[in-house]
Every structure is written in structure tokens, then in C-alpha cells.
Symmetry: C2
Subunit: 491 residues, 2 copies
């Protein structure tokens, strides 16, 4: 007799057992099925259980009724039906033999991701002195306040808030962002030009989709953030690297011939080198963009963290023609898993990008958006920003001091007084020796990260990206002390 798989409600077990019997032709098409009473007795289940199971098989077309003569296995089942017994659980997994042809986008995606995996996840075994970069300090964040704002918005959720919303984002958040960007970054925009996205990666992706065709030339800085290159290369762009100097992207290193679809820049705090682009250079970049008739993607990922004076105003604020597409994220100011960022678009690009956002995912999660709007409008955001700016300034000082104290002129620090990381070049230490150094350092609980992955042509000299936000000042000091002693051992 049939055996029940013991998974889920009884009538479902009976349903699956009977279905298996039919699919395996143990119950041949056209034959009468066991009576509900008989089967119930044999299986030791209630008759209603069997009736429910039969109803289901009936509604799915496995069973058919004949006027006045009971229930039969449907006789019009396709021949290969018996085959699909294998579709039952377990037996099926390894039978996944089909491997579909990928589209060009999919193939580029797989090739490029293999070559340089984008991993945002924290390391498995945490280190006591981990100089990992690209993270805020989670303990600086006023979590209780955030939870209070969030819970209040959740409790008072209106139908409007629970329903589908505008793809461009909730009005209250778009206004809060526009106001904040004008006040703190000199970004010139109305709320209508702001599109809320799932972090800056989506800003890059939407720009690439709307603007970049296969074969188009896109200029990026060298070195650069790989997530940007990946987005453009997946879209089929031919990526052209522009060189850097102490003032950021060197305009004289850029192609002067058209067409160039887009140029990706990080003027406030070049990633990863940390240099800042002064106003003259910004105007040269704008003039060049005008000349070659291209679009500028300004990634302003961490410029809020500027420790002397106020942050240089955004390139977008100098743009006269509406060529600058500005983007920022809340990952470094709130926390990464909030997955909220924004684009500020030239008038001409608002409609296409909003349409793209709608087709991509119809819009971001509502609760996070409205809670963040409250968090900003009630001043919590600015307060947190000021506080964490002070703390990170101290951490940066501690790092520079420790580097000076323990490594002296064996290290050369690049970049301006800003951001959440420092780029340190190890003098007289070859890049090829870094893997060994990293292992030795990790043994001492020190996590260090080479800058090489951010170059298309890895440099010969050994550069380290040292993130300081997530460490305390004394941890920073101790970490660098240990690194120095490891270096002593290596040389």
C-alpha cells in the first residue's frame, strides 16, 4: 500500500501518495481509484482526509468522474506524464541538467563578477584591530532614537504608507534630501529632481541602463570603486581610465574626441586615493564635459566626513548646463543595510530614470523612507553627523599619529583630511609581499587591506587602505604598533 511521506497535513500526504501512484502508472489512466472508505482504512486516516486529497487530484485533473460509476484516473494524461514522478522532492535536485544560454548582459556579469567579486559581507572571523574601510562606526549611531522614530512610523502606518508608492520615492524624504544637500553640499535642486534608490549601487546601475549602450566609452578614475566599473562594464561600456594627480582626475589625460557617454568622478574625496578636487579642476572637468558633450556622474559617497572647514561644495553646484548626475548614500551616515541612497538628476533625466526605477522594482521600501525623513526633519540626522564627524576626526588623527610614531617615513600617507579611510604607501616594500604581510598581521589580530584591487593595473608599491571609523583610538594605536612589529619581522 502507499506510504505517506509524513510531511505537512495528512490530506496533503495522501494527495502526494496518490499522485505518485498515478504518475508512476501504478494507478494506470482510466482505472478506478480505491474507494475513499477503503483507502482511509488502509492508510489509517479519516475518510474526510481522503476525500480532501481526491478533491485536490480532481481539481488538478488527475482524476475524472464518470456518471454514476465513481472516480477514475483521468485517461487523457499525456504519455510522458509518468516520467514526472522524478519531479518529486529530493530525486529532482541533481536532475537539474538544463543550462540556459545567458544574454550578453548575463555573460558579462558572470565573467566580470568572477574576475572581481563584489563582496559587501563582513569577514567570518572578526579581528580585534580590523582596519576594514567603507563602514561607519555602528556604535556611534543613535540606534535607540532610530528605533523610536521607526517604531512610531510603523505603528501609525497609513493605508497610503502600506500601499504601492511613487517609484521616485516618498515626497517627505525627497524634500528632506533636497534641503539637506543644498544646505550641506551646495547641491542645487528641487525635490522633483531627487530619486530615492536602494543605495548608490542602484544609482550607478540606473545611470548605466538609461545612458550606456554596448560599446559606449565611459571614463572612470584610475584607481576607482569597482562597483562603478562593474555597473558600466556589465552594460557593455568600453571603460577608459583617466589618470589622477594631487587635484584628482587629470583632464589632460582624458580623451578629447567624441563620443564619450559618461565620466564617473568622486571629486570630494577620490576613492580610494582620498584626494580632493579643487574648484579650478572642477571647472576644467565641466569645461571638458561641455567640449566632448558628455555626462558627469558625481559620486559623493562620503564627503560629509570632511574634518577641516566645511566640505567643498558639490560639482553639481557648479554645473550650468545640467550635465551632472549627482549621487550619494546613507550607508556611511546611517548604516549600510538600510539600503537607501539618492540621485539628483538634471531635468532632462528625471523622467527616464524614474521610469527605469519603476521597471526595476517599482520603488524602495516605504517604512525606511518615511522613518528616515522624520529622522532628518527632527534634527537627529544632523546631530549624529556632527557627533560622528568629531569622533572620526579624532580616529583619523590617532591613525596618522600612530603611523608617524611606529612607521615614521616607512609609510607615506595620501589624501586630504576627509573620509573614513586613509591610503598609506609602504616605502621600500613590494606589493607582491603584501599577501604574506596580511597573513602575519592577521595572526596578530590586525586586518589590513591592499589598495591593488582598485587598480586595473596594480601598482608595484604596496598600498594599504586603512579604515579607521570602526575602531577606538587606542585600538588604532595598538593595531598600527602591531603592524609595525610585523613589518619589522618581514624586512
Amino acid at each position: 500500500m502507499w506510504t505517506l511521506d509524513g510531511d505537512g497535513p495528512l490530506y496533503q500526504q495522501v494527495y502526494r501518495a496518490a499522485r505518485r501512484a498515478i504518475l508512476s502508472a501504478e494507478l494506470a489512466p482510466g482505472t478506478r481509484v480505491p474507494s475513499t472508505r477503503g483507502l482511509a482504512r488502509d492508510l489509517g486516516v479519516s475518510r474526510n482526509t481522503v476525500i480532501l486529497a481526491y478533491d485536490q487530484l480532481f481539481s488538478e485533473g488527475y482524476l475524472a468522474a464518470r456518471e454514476g460509476s465513481g472516480t477514475f484516473v483521468a485517461s487523457n494524461l499525456p504519455d510522458d506524464l509518468t516520467e514526472s514522478i522524478r519531479s518529486d522532492r529530493g530525486e529532482r535536485r541533481q536532475a537539474d541538467i538544463f543550462s540556459p544560454r545567458l544574454a550578453a548582459y548575463g555573460r558579462r556579469l558572470v565573467d566580470l563578477s568572477d574576475r572581481q567579486p563584489l563582496t559587501w559581507e563582513a569577514r567570518a572571523a572578526p579581528l580585534s584591530f580590523d582596519f576594514r574601510y567603507g563602514r561607519p562606526n555602528f556604535f556611534d549611531f543613535p540606534h535607540d532614537t532610530w528605533c523610536r522614530v521607526l517604531a512610531r512610523r510603523a505603528r501609525r502606518a497609513s493605508v497610503k504608507q502600506l500601499d504601492y508608492g511613487p517609484p521616485a520615492g516618498r515626497d517627505e524624504l525627497r524634500s528632506a534630501i533636497a534641503e539637506y544637500l543644498w544646505r550641506s553640499r551646495g547641491v542645487v535642486c528641487t525635490p522633483e529632481q531627487v530619486v530615492v534608490v536602494n543605495g548608490s549601487q542602484q544609482a550607478l546601475d540606473l545611470a548605466a541602463r538609461v545612458l550606456v549602450d554596448q560599446g559606449d566609452r565611459v571614463v572612470i578614475e584610475e584607481p576607482h570603486y569597482p562597483g562603478a566599473r562593474l555597473a558600466f562594464e556589465c552594460a557593455g561600456a568600453e571603460v577608459v581610465a583617466g589618470e589622477l594627480d594631487g587635484d584628482g582626475l587629470r583632464v589632460d589625460s582624458l580623451p578629447a574626441d567624441r563620443p564619450i557617454r559618461l565620466v564617473y568622478v568622486t571629486p570630494a574625496h577620490q576613492f580610494p586615493s582620498g584626494v580632493n578636487m579643487p574648484v579650478q579642476r572642477r571647472l576644467e572637468v565641466l569645461a571638458w564635459a561641455e567640449k566632448v558633450d558628455t555626462i558627469i556622474f558625481e559620486d559623493d559617497y562620503d564627503s560629509e566626513f570632511r574634518y577641516s572647514g566645511r566640505p567643498v561644495e558639490a560639482l553639481q553646484g557648479l554645473d550650468r548646463a545640467g550635465r551632472v548626475l549627482y549621487s550619494g548614500t546613507f550607508s556611511k551616515l546611517m548604516f549600510p543595510s538600510l539600503r537607501l541612497g539618492y540621485m539628483v538628476l538634471p531635468a532632462a533625466l528625471v523622467a527616464p530614470v524614474v521610469a527605469a526605477k519603476a521597471v526595476c522594482d517599482t520603488g524602495c521600501s516605504a517604512l525606511d523612507q518615511v522613518a528616515l525623513a522624520d529622522f532628518m526633519q527632527e534634527g537627529h540626522f544632523d546631530r549624529h553627523l556632527r557627533r560622528s564627524r568629531t569622533r572620526n576626526a579624532k580616529r583619523r588623527e590617532a591613525l596618522l599619529h600612530a603611523l608617524q610614531r611606529y612607521l615614521g617615513d616607512r609609510v607615506e600617507v595620501s589624501g586630504v583630511n576627509a573620509g573614513l579611510h586613509v591610503l598609506a604607501w609602504l616605502q621600500g616594500f613590494a606589493a607582491r609581499r603584501l599577501p604574506a604581510l596580511r597573513r602575519r598581521a592577521a595572526e596578530q589580530g590586525v586586518g589590513i587591506y591592499p589598495v591593488s584591487p582598485y587598480y586595473r593595473e596594480p601598482p608595484k608599491r604596496a598600498g594599504l587602505l586603512l579604515g579607521f571609523a570602526s575602531l577606538q583610538e587606542r585600538e588604532i594605536d595598538e593595531g598600527i604598533r602591531r603592524l609595525a612589529s610585523v613589518l619589522d619581522g618581514e624586512s
Copy 2:
């Protein structure tokens, strides 16, 4: 003397005033700037305010210092710099004259969205008897329980939860989804095959990006959900319409010649017609897919709402070769603005789709994911589903009863006993008369929605999509009564 714009901190106002003076060449390159003391007096601000403003201009390169002879306007500013005065706020907006060339994707996006806008937003002026479809009943949802689960997870957020997470989704949610789908939908998968996405629209978009090249043929049902067609057409697909009968997609209406990249189906409850695909037809579709070597995208958007017996098992559960890409959403079971859905992928597609998700947005918001996982694991989800299924069954009955009572055989209802809407054909009433009917109905507080937008070739007869989930039974009865009297007036 310079006027301050009164916006923001004083030193920023002074900074902008001085910047304007420089950009407008009122302060020519190379000339000495007013002394801090003098300017402070003239503007009636503190000297420190002026010093802060000058520091900023200095750090941005507008000002330069000459050994022992004070501060001057930088002489090496590009000539066209004076131009950028216009970049100051207000004056700039209308100067957005640049209109960039869009990529092919962007152009298709704009054309197609214009032709058929995807609007998920609720109507401005709510109607008392709005038969809008595609929404759950927000008052059925156990909001307090959800807020409790959410707040608990928010309060106890770990660093891991606040940090960047796996692009495929949080493990706890992927496991909860896999378990739920196997138990309730007969979907055969491991948690590793589940990818969490921002609603089913992103599932469509990711599939289109990874699988569809420009010019590829994609089969969709006619009529169909326009969000699906848009995703595929934006990717450049040539969309081929398959015909329906009472058993869903007619295989004999499908092209028998290769290549066909993908076929999009809604077997459990065809949208919008509401027909269900019985097992024989499902196996025919699978056999056809095998023959033409194509991929099946199974959109299981609302099959949880099946009112007689349990939902027919997913097509994915019958798939032997791993050709079926299964997708579902929480928009109808939780609420739309949660923006969470899932894909269940054949083994061969997991890596490319996860890579695509990573490049798109690096992953969904963490809090929503972990809270939903708790909500499911603690049984709240199943309880809510059972309860709302019962309520919606009653609402559907009430609708059918009212249609019978007030319209009798002037209306023909299509579709099976499932879902959150009913497709009703008005007999002897031409489609072209619907706009007038809608206006008249709205005057009576009744919201009705024609089915025509879901056809590429709008039918001659007048079809209405009647959503019943968000109305009470007596509202449904009254709404149809009013509709009937409006119809009397029209005929």
C-alpha cells in the same frame, strides 16, 4: 556692498557672497580681498565669521595667499569661471538646457512607459465602492503583531544586521521562504535556490537582464500583466502573444520554431482572466518548453488565495529539467510597500541572478527581511493567510452573488474560484462605452476598471476587473447595486 542671502549659517552666507563677487569678477583675479576686520564691520558680522568664510574659499582655491602680503583672489582661475556665477541657486534651474542622448534601453523605457504608464499609486480622491484590484485588504493584516516583531528586531539589531548583507538575501528569510513554498505550493527547492528581491517586478527585471538579448523572442500570455511585458520589451525582446482558453495558455498557439528565449506564464491564476491551468496543460507547456529549448518564468503572484481545496501545486514542482524560474511576492500577503518578493531559480541560474542582484543594488533592506523571517517562523504568516483567505472567499461570494442579483445574465464572469479579483464581461455593452460608464459610476462612488489595458489588442466587448479584497461584503453588494443602476441609465 555684498548682500547675504539669509540662507543657513552666517559664515556660509558670507562665503557665498564672496564667491559670487569672485565669480562675477567684481573681485578680479589677483586683486586683494577686503580685510577680515573691514568686511566684518561692513556686513555687521563677527570677524571669525569672515575668517571661516575666507578659509573655505581658500581651501577651495578661490583665494590664494602671498607671503607677507595678505590674501588675494587666485589668479589662475580658468577664464570661463566668471560664467559659473549662473550656477548659483535659482538662476540655474531654467538653464538646464542639456538633453543627453539616451541608450537604447532608456529610449525603449521612455517610449513604452509613455504608451502604458505603470502606476501603482492609489487614486487621489478615494471612492466609497472602489473595486480596485491588485491590493490586499490592509485591515485584515495583523499590523500590531507585525510592528511588535519589527520593533523587536530593530531594537536587537546586531552589527551583522546593520552591515552590508548577502545580495541573495538573509539566510533566515531564504530558509523560511523555501519551507513555506514546499509546504504550501509544492515548490521543490533548497534555500540556496531562493533569491530575495524587491517585489516581483525586480524578479522580472533580473530575469530579463540575465536572459534576454535585444531581438530575442519572449512569449507572454494575452491578456497579461503589463509590468512583465515592459520588463521584457525594455530589454529589447520581441514579445510574442500566446492565446488563452479555459485551461490557460494554449500550447498549440505557441511558435514551434526556435529560438524562444523565455515564456512568461501565470498558471495558478492567469492574470487578468483568472483561469487556472490544470496539470495536463502544465505538462504540455513543459513538453513544449523542452522541445523549443526555452525557459519558463512562472509568476505565482496570488495563488495563495484559492478558495476551494488547496492551491494547485506550482508548475515548478512538475519541472524535471530545471527550466522553470519561479517567482512570487509578499505584496498581496503582507502589504505592497514592504517591497519583498522572491525568485526560486534552477541551479544553473542562481549564480548569474545573484550577481545581477549584487550589481543592481547589493541586496534588499535587512530589517524587513529578518522581521519577515520571524513573522513566518513564528506562525503569524500562516495564521494571517488562513484568516484572510476565509475573508476573501466571503468577499468573492458576495461579489458573485451581487453580480447575479443585480446584473443577472447581463454579466458573464470568467475565471476560477481564486485570487483577489474577478473578470466580468458586460453582455451587449461595447467596450468604447466604458469610459462614459466609468465616469457615471464614479459619480455614484463606484470605482470600476476596464480589462482592456491588459490586452495588446483591446477586445470589442466590455470587460471589468473587479477587485474585492479591500471592500466589506455589504459595500460590495451596494457597489454592484449602484453599478447596475448606472448601467440601466446607460442602456
